[in-house]
Symmetry: C3
Subunit: 128 residues, 3 copies
């Protein structure tokens, strides 16, 4: 943990650098100073088939979910969410110049009692 | 919000029109009259690798998740779910003629305190 | 239900047999003796774009989620989770020989009041 998951409509191909979006989210997560570096995982899932609102072919979306371990203070999560959303909004600013794009972001907690993990990146980064 | 997410086994290629399934879900969501049109996003994720039940190569699945803002009455969500499920069941009826298909649908709420969004489709549709 | 969902970074191509991983998860789920065989669905989603930790190109991840019907005892879920995680850890053991891999697993419950399903596999297997 944490896991940032981007889902996006395939018609954003060529309009958005999705790898760059993942990098921007990682940057924002690092800057928020809430997580251990070795724990942060950002990834994107491309949705080839979709149906959005009034079905104009130009309609597209980016939906970001963050799953993180339960237990952080509400204010910490709010501030983190504000910062990440601002970064994503900024990265995707050109899309908002058209009336065909919707962005969303949700934070959801993981119950630590039902979470298992093994991370070989931590020891390498902790040793630095 | 709302977000409808279809996951399906890749062996449904050629058997199911997944884009058509997304459209059928959007139709059902519109007909339910619960959501603002510009907010509805339906999409599908294709699962190339899978292992299902007794592993017959014909075994396939469609799993639908709906994430929507918390706060609606239980009866509203039940009725919505019944209607969407009926539409999906009807669309996928040919698959149930074989003993190799499983369909599922879950509704989960999004905590509005940990949700961010920006939608450029709404102003266009609200202006109509 | 239950649904096992693997997400993984695309740089595991050629390093991990993802179909084999799905099979190992199915085996562990069957061995746990908690679920009806016809209900178990395991699948994987490949993430082409990602950004992980300190962004070394070798950094990779596997994230497993299990969604299952609410209502089972905590001890049952813990034991099931331990067994599935051990199976996945064992299957992915070679990846842990490098300092570039992170594995995670979360169990989340589905509210039966907001769950719909239709399964044509059950009758076939129940008849055996």
């Amino acid at each position: 943990m944490p896991h940032f998951i981007v889902e996006y409509s395939a018609n954003l191909d060529g309009k958005v650098d999705i790898k760059g979006l993942c990098d921007a989210i990682l940057d924002a997560a690092i800057d928020a100073d809430v997580f251990e570096l070795g724990a942060i995982r950002v990834r994107a899932l491309r949705c080839e088939a979709y149906a959005i609102a009034d079905r104009l072919p130009e309609n597209g979306f980016v939906d970001l979910s963050l799953r993180l371990a339960a237990g952080r203070a509400i204010e910490v999560k709010k501030k983190l969410g504000d910062a990440v959303f601002a970064a994503v909004e900024s990265f995707l600013a050109p899309l908002f110049e058209t009336p065909h794009f919707a962005l969303s972001f949700e934070i959801r907690e993981i119950d630590p009692d039902f979470s298992w993990k093994k991370n070989a990146i931590h020891p390498r980064l902790r040793g630095k």
